[in-house]
């Protein structure tokens, strides 16, 4: 059997990705995480001296703290299997990627293990995140200079 025929057979036989189910679960999971985040944000605005804009930093830190606990107790991977993109896209997913790598590599020591591998998965998120922020900022700067939009 040649490769093309086999690829077709494999496609026909293997279970299909349940796209609709995955999207609904991702929506529910991602939505729930963001809802919790919203409450955390409101908490900081109500009980502390934060504005909507400045509350985002402690909110992100708190959400990552939650992700750390869930990862450490082995629950985040279960949420991940259920929620897919819904639990991967929010900041908690980023936290999970960093924390899981840190836990995994603890056996090789703190410097070469934890330190050297912590950003193994999340490193590319940081790199391309910073790079795309740079590109977007550049575009906006040009548009402001041209007078099309204002800051």
């Amino acid at each position: 059997m040649d490769e093309k025929k086999y690829a077709k057979l494999e496609k026909d036989t293997s279970p299909k990705t349940p796209l609709m189910r995955n999207m609904i679960f991702a929506f529910l999971t991602g939505g729930t995480i963001c809802l919790v985040g919203q409450f955390v944000s409101l908490f900081y605005m109500t009980y502390f001296d934060f504005t909507e804009r400045t509350a985002s930093n402690p909110t992100v830190a708190t959400m990552i703290f939650f992700a750390m606990l869930l990862t450490g107790f082995g629950l985040y991977k279960k949420i991940g299997q259920f929620g897919g993109a819904g639990s991967a896209v929010p900041i908690t997913g980023f936290g999970n990627a960093v924390i899981s790598a840190a836990i995994e590599h603890k056996s090789e020591g703190y410097v070469l293990g934890v330190g050297g591998n912590m950003f193994k998965l999340a490193g590319s998120v940081i790199l391309f995140g910073v790079f795309s922020a740079f590109v977007v900022a550049l575009i906006k700067t040009i548009l402001v200079k041209l007078g099309v939009v204002s800051w």
């Binding site: 293997s14 990862t71 991977k77 991940g80 056996s107």
Partner: protein, 333 residues
């Protein structure tokens, strides 16, 4: 025709004893009761997963030896393997047990390739007792081949779960009343262009079908001759494909066809397509199949262990997944 890659054992070496150890999650296996030792802790009380991996293998070897009333110094050869880089778990286990050792790598097909090598050494009269087998430890394998264990990535239904288990057999010259190794077939590396490491069953199925057909034609056998034809760890997805491929070649696929990976955890959907890993086929072949042979339920069986010969590097560099399958035929007379 020159019979390429076919082995026939005139002296029919026997599997005199087996030793199978498994991790705590493997209590969920349908075959858990048959395992000699099940640990309460995934790390078997050791500091790292890799040490646990070696410990499982050591314990399996010691159990197999104790069943033939032997100590490590009575054994002539140790032929074991695993999936970890440079096979450190097997190497470290070999250091502790102290039996003359060769590490063997055929990925998850090591369970059968090691038995074949042990049978060959026995056949030529160089071995009175050879320990052969394979092992895998979920956490150690997962972190090497995929992501950190606690990473929350979503796996598709085609993905398989690497088992934590070690299985070894004590191969001796022919012993009456024990399953004996009559013949075998060394597999060719087959690659039909599959690239998805989360669908290894589909990558391995063509290799299994190829070895099955080569074994049947090469040894002039028919499906009817066997009580069971069991593959190693194709999983639900791969097993379906393998049956279709075998059917296309004129093989009558019956209920005799079984797959250790598909059956390992039963119908539990949490394990997606089923079990995989070098320990999967070793644990099931050396418990379920050997037990049934010794009980007289099976007279002649064909075991085909399948292995995916990829590395995380080869996959990231865009290479397809080459696979191999080795077959061994056991009889009970």
């Amino acid at each position: 025709m020159v019979a390429r890659g076919l082995l026939t054992f005139k002296t029919t070496p026997s599997i005199a004893a087996t030793g199978v150890t498994a991790g705590p999650l493997e209590k969920k296996s349908l075959f858990a009761e048959k395992f000699d030792k099940v640990y309460e802790d995934e790390r078997c009380g050791m500091k790292t997963n890799e040490h646990a991996h070696a410990k499982m293998m050591e314990d399996a070897c010691m159990i197999a030896l104790s069943k033939v009333d032997s100590v490590p110094s009575d054994a002539d050869f140790l032929l074991i393997g695993d999936l970890i880089n440079q096979m450190t778990p097997s190497n470290f286990a070999a250091k502790t047990v102290g039996i003359p050792y060769i590490g063997l790598f055929s990925a998850c097909a090591t369970s059968v390739s090691s038995l074949l090598m042990a049978a060959l050494l026995t056949e030529i009269g160089m071995s009175k007792c050879a320990i052969a087998g394979a092992s895998s430890q979920h956490n150690a394998v997962e972190r090497q081949f995929r992501y950190p264990n606690e990473y929350g990535g979503q796996k598709p239904d085609t993905a398989q779960w690497t088992v934590t288990a070690a299985g070894v057999a004590a191969v001796t010259p022919h012993k009456k009343g024990f399953p004996s190794i009559e013949c075998g077939t060394i597999g060719c590396v087959i690659d039909l262009g599959m690239t998805d490491p989360l669908n290894m069953g589909a990558a391995m199925a063509p290799a299994a079908a190829d070895t099955l057909i080569r074994h049947l034609t090469g040894h002039n056998k028919d499906v009817k001759d066997y009580d069971v034809i069991m593959t190693g760890d194709l999983g639900k997805t791969g097993f379906e494909l393998y049956k279709i491929l075998a059917g296309n070649q004129g093989i009558v696929v019956t209920k005799k066809f079984r797959d250790a990976g598909e059956e390992f955890y039963g119908a539990d959907a949490a394990f997606l397509s089923g079990a995989s890993g070098a320990g999967c086929s070793a644990a099931i072949f050396l418990t379920e199949v050997i037990d049934k042979m010794r009980a007289g339920d099976y007279k002649r069986v064909l075991l085909i262990a399948t292995g995916a010969l990829l590395s995380p590097l080869s996959f990231q560099q865009g290479d397809t997944i080459p696979c191999i399958a080795h077959a061994i035929e056991l009889t009970m007379k």
